[in-house]
């Protein structure tokens, strides 16, 4: 039979304690902390684990069987997971899939991510939903668990500004897939050049742009407007990223400057930053949207798309200046802003993830639209 796993504890800032079995990082006694969030996707645990937007968080999977199809080289959204912990009901140690290279627990072990399984994740999810803002701590120390119960919680040392830790440090350029494969090392000419500002980007955003035939240059989040202009882009994409957009407000002037000259498209945190840069406000959602089943209505067409989401903050609708901006997408369930568009300029942002991975590919067309904008309004002209 399988090797016995050590017991571990999830301590909550409410004083609730869940006992489970430990996996992942060696149980050294060092407790990890993080904001408690839950993801309702039934597939895509690997993409979630490697999505940098979860930096610093402890992610609970609501689907009870996790790890079934293992871990594949193809499904990393970043080089290393940035989340702080994983909470699972049942962990599959013997994955079954033709592309599985390792198991989930091996991945967690490799990157030192702490995880607990055998946890009543539904009860935990209900707590997160009820409390909205909830912090957790994963420990193997039963005494600390006892203390948490007695004290009615613990002092959380939580910070939201994780962008710096997940943004790349160097500028990197990628050629579109078709060019790269046909002639290695060749540089495509006459293809749209998109600069992706990296606030902790998911690899699939870059892949989606490459798939649409763009050359993509990924730049660190603190790159200046001038440096970006020097790259001579046709358009700018602001990536997703972790935390509160106000923590990186120093980038807002850069965004303002670029938005006047380039087609711009923001995803998730990138969308929030475009909004903040143009006078909107962002607020924290009660317990965030995280999953692959969020309905979003495109206001103009009335069509509803099922989207992949992962955010704790949202653009406050009342703050959107109606003279210049329209709300292009709304969440069907809670009516929150899911997309904004400038009335004149080719600048827009969406709160959800059109790049999918995990989640539905329903809104991939937004990339196509953005690229059309790049080609018609960019600095280059296309015949």
């Amino acid at each position: 039979m399988k090797k016995e796993k050590a017991n571990g504890y999830l301590l909550l800032s409410t004083g609730d304690v869940f006992e489970g079995k430990w996996f992942g990082a060696p149980p050294t006694g060092e407790a990890v902390e993080g904001e408690m969030v839950f993801n309702t996707g039934m597939t895509g645990y690997q993409e979630v684990m490697t999505d940098p937007s979860y930096a610093g968080q402890i992610v609970t999977f609501t689907y009870p069987l996790i790890g079934n199809y293992g871990i594949s080289d193809l499904d990393f959204e970043s080089v290393r997971p940035a989340l702080h912990g994983i909470i699972i009901s049942e962990l599959c140690e013997e994955p079954s899939h033709f592309q599985a290279q390792t198991s989930l627990s091996e991945l967690a072990e490799q990157f030192g991510i702490s995880g607990l399984y055998d946890i009543d994740t539904r009860a935990l999810t209900r707590l997160i939903r009820q409390h909205g803002e909830l912090y957790g701590k994963i420990t193997i120390d039963p005494q600390e668990a006892e203390r948490c119960k007695v004290d009615g919680g613990f002092e959380a040392k939580w910070r939201t500004d994780c962008v710096a830790s997940v943004s790349g440090r160097v500028i990197q350029t990628f050629e579109p897939a078709s060019v790269g494969s046909a002639d290695a090392g060749a540089v495509a000419v006459d293809v749209p050049h998109v600069v992706l500002i990296d606030f902790g980007h998911k690899k699939s955003i870059c892949d989606a742009l490459l798939q649409e035939g763009c050359r993509v240059t990924i730049v660190p989040y603190d790159t200046t407007a001038e440096q970006i202009e020097d790259l001579a882009p046709d358009g700018i994409v602001l990536s997703n990223g972790p935390g509160d957009p106000k923590d990186v407000s120093f980038v807002l002037p850069t965004i303002q400057a670029l938005a006047d000259h380039y087609p711009m498209f923001g995803i998730c945190l990138g969308h929030q930053l475009i909004a903040l840069a143009h006078g909107c406000d962002t607020v924290r959602l009660p317990f965030g949207h995280r999953g692959s089943n969020h309905p979003v209505k495109e206001v103009a067409s009335g069509k509803v798309y099922i989207t992949s989401q992962n955010h704790g903050y949202t653009v406050h609708e009342d703050s959107v200046p109606p003279q210049e901006w329209v709300v292009s997408h709304r969440n069907v369930n809670d009516g929150s802003v899911e997309g904004i568009e400038h009335r004149i300029k080719p600048v827009s942002g969406v709160q959800f993830h059109p790049e999918a991975h995990p989640g539905p590919q329903d809104t991939h067309h937004l990339f196509k639209r953005f690229i059309t904008q790049c080609m018609s309004t960019g600095e280059k002209s296309y015949a």
Binding site: T43, T62, N68, D120, A123, K303, I306
Partner: protein, 1121 residues
Amino acid sequence: MPKFEHIKKVLVIGSGPIVIGQAAEFDYAGTQACLALKEEGVEVVLVNNNPATIMTDHEIADRIYMEPLTVASLSRIIEKERPDGILPTLGGQTGLNLAVSLSDAGVLDKYDVILLGTPLETIRNAEDREAFKSMMQKIGEPVPESQTVNTVKDALEFADSIGYPVIVRPAYTLGGAGGGIAADAGELLAVAKRGIDASPIGQILVERSVKGWKEIEYEVMRDAGDTCIIVCNMENMDPVGIHTGDSIVVAPSQTLNDRQYQMLRSAACKVIRSLGVVGGCNIQYALDPESDQYYLIEVNPRVSRSSALASKATGYPIARIAAKLALGYHLDEVTNPVTGHTYASFEPAIDYVVAKIPRWPFDKFPLADRRLTTQMKATGEVMALARNLEAALLKAVRSLEIGADHLWLPHLSSLSHEHLKKGLVDATDERLFLLAEVFRRGWRVADIHGLTEIDPFFLQKIARIVELEQALATYTWEDVPRELLTEAKQRGFSDAWLARSFSVSEHEVRSRWREWNRAPAYKLVDTCAAEFDAETPYYYSTWQGLDEVEVSQAGKKVLVIGSGPIRIGQGVEFDYCSVHAAQSLKRNGVEAVVVNNNPETVSTDFETADQLYFEPLTAEDVIHIADKEKVDGVMVQFGGQTAINLAAALADAGLHLYGTPLVSIDRVEDRDLFYQMLRELGIPHIAGTGVHTEAEALAAAEEIGYPVLIRPSYVIGGRGMVVLYDEQQLRQYLSELQQWASVEQLFPLLIDKYVAGKEVELDAVCDGEDVLIPGIFEHVERAGVHSGDSTAVFPSPSLSDSHKQMIADYTRKIVRELGAVGLINIQWVWDQQADVIYVLEVNPRASRTVPIVSKITGIPMVDLAVQCQLGRSLRNLMMEFEGGPEAEGAVGTVGYEDTLGLMPDIPYYAVKAPVFSTVKLNGVDPALGPEMKSTGESLGLGLTVEEAMSKALHWKEDVNPPLQKGDAIFLSLSDGDKADGEEIVSHIKVLELEVSATKGTAAWLEQQGVEVQRIIHDVEELRQWISEYPEKPPLQMMCITPTRGNDAKRAGFALRQLSLQYQITCFTALDTVKAFLGLSAAAAGIAEVGGTTGAREPQPRELMEYGRLAEKNREKEGAHI
């Protein structure tokens, strides 16, 4: 977008009687959809001739036609009702096909009826393999390549062009007989030749084989604004090769990664868009386990069995939403009724595991071919929810009611290695149990995967169950560690199994939980994985984690036990009763808690009860729910034999049973006690006794005198029942039964004298003192044919008033003696020669005929029964009921002085006819006998017995159409039947039928002055003759009555199989064929005279109309009918 304002009246087509592949799921879907339409102010006209359904209740549709599902019948209804739209997507393939036929006949155009939901072209294209293929090719979605060929050479050429393996399907063979899979050209040479030989038209389809690939299903919805959502995806544990209806299915998919999940999701949206479906659609894929390659293997542009499963698995009511979409609503305009504050335009996230296991009828048909193929054989299914797959599987297994409380069947442990191997490769209904058995013997996952192609993920779960068993086996009940025992409960192990394996009683197991203060926790099904607040009263149990279900303590609360999976002998009628019981409780201010495990039904719609527990129907599971809910008591009368069988265990656990006391249940189920009671009451019963050994059986039969009727005790639907004519047959029967059951299981056996009289049957409501009998059914076939398989007329046309009075008196005596409260069903046989009426059987519960009686008399039997069980007197209830407003939409209620006892006959007739699925069950003899074989029933209503009977028999386009003058028939009658064949002879003469017959029957016919065109000497000769006419069989009807003793090896069996293969109307009981020929003669006679007589072609009428018309007739005649 607002709804289509111009649609004010909609015709809904139901799916008709239950057959394999089209079961209770359409009652659930239809009921939901009709209510959704009514909610929008749309007038609903419903056509469905399945009387056992909720959807044909007057609360569900505005105008109800329980009329044949034929173009002629539908055309008249459309002409009369002038609906604005027709919604055919709720009635299964029957509904879709009828819509196409109506359109082809020009009826829809003529009356300007809009087809709602699915476009006509799509219905056609989804059924036509070639059209579907080209449609999918256009949108770039792959369909397995296939070609129809007539020679082996063409088959080889085509296979070369697409690559191997290929599957060969011969045209027009029964259940795909003669087909097979070929892995290379050498094999194809043989398989193609065999297939071409097997096909009567020498034609085969050669198709790329995706056998062994993962079978994945998606349930998609689309609205008129082109928004598409996936309600649920599902993965078949059994890979491609076994019909999804016969596969173990889990939801959501377990072994697909996100890219594959989304790839198939995107394809599903693409397909539903190209089909233009507004509403729901089921899409099935084959996915290569070794790559991302996939094929579309089936599309159902309508609600389906899978959509019902998906609805129950997620909580998302597909049929209800589909109906709203058909009216023009968009998904984001319809609220999600589960949360009440989110919208239908989202994709449910589930946070539990769902397992569905089919329920097969092989327990009834020991001679049937049990192998699972692409032809569905299951009659029903169970679903279980849990937090892990092992528990979901084990809960589902014990929901099946096949005598298994674990992945363990006693006879498997003696199977040889080779037997097991074969059983794994050629899957039967027992494969799931075989998997556990081979793990017990130490086989490895990889080897089993190689034999079964079942994904290792699933195999590991089964291995884990066995590992846990083995870990438990190292301990005794005294020293088994708490952790291990807890883990067993968390993985779904039953108390019954734990008790058996530790050799303790279930009581002891349960006291251990009490000692440890452990009980299952209950969690919510909420469509959203707890993301939003939901108050759906829809729960499942788990031994993992916290209980989140808060129990109300205000007022009275009653638990209604459901009836489990649909099986032969226990069909949708018991779901009807359970649903009505819950509704009645609610109306009477009592909280209704329902427990059931059948995902196809209305009872497991979370809107039916106040609280729904989706759980196995075992003592353990039910007692936990009763404890959890702190119910005042339990109602066991409405869930068929399933519920009655639990009565003792529930009472034993200290639960109060409403209605007929337990001791009385025993008094009618134990034959000795039963006969003793009848003797005391002075009610005649047939000579009979219970025996405990083979010697006793032989002696008893000798004493009673042959022929004898034999049956095992505590039966459902007459399993194992048979009429035997001499000692030799009895000996043979006993030795055969011992192959299927141990001696302990076999005995006691009941042996009765067989009396070939007329059978009559009644259902009554009683309060222990008084009794209300809405009427009496009379069976067309004489005793010896199971009541579920007999054609029955209501009210009885033959019984005299004094007979009826006698029956009513006996009934009252029995009810008073038993203190029966609620419903009671009594079956009688009237020995016309001796003029004695015997009691055959008393069932202290609801029966198959309760819904029919309720619908046609307007007496809400279940409602009255529930109120009686709650302590009200029938006398008071009837006073209120009589004074009630229009008597609840009753059609037959007429004034009568005494409101109790036997009600006066309704002034029109209802005929119930059995509907069979034998064509789908290889090896099953369709001959009628004491064993029930039908899966459903049709209802015909008429002002005369003939009109009602013709509607019941010819309930669907190609089923039992009346014979025309000069039609050709084939006869093979047993000697006993020949003696009684006078009537048949005269009908043959009137209809000038061309008769062919077996030798003996031909000789007899010639004697009777009937010219026999062709004498058939053996089965092969007949087969040869029929196969000469591939387009249309040269016979319009066959009648092959079984020889006494009913031996499958005899020619009659093979002859009847021929009728199934070539889809020729076939009767197997003399009385049925007499009635059928009589109807044909009447119909043919009328056609000739030009309708001048009083009789007419059957007229469809709205349910209420029968009462009114009959009333009018009565006034005209000025006489009491």
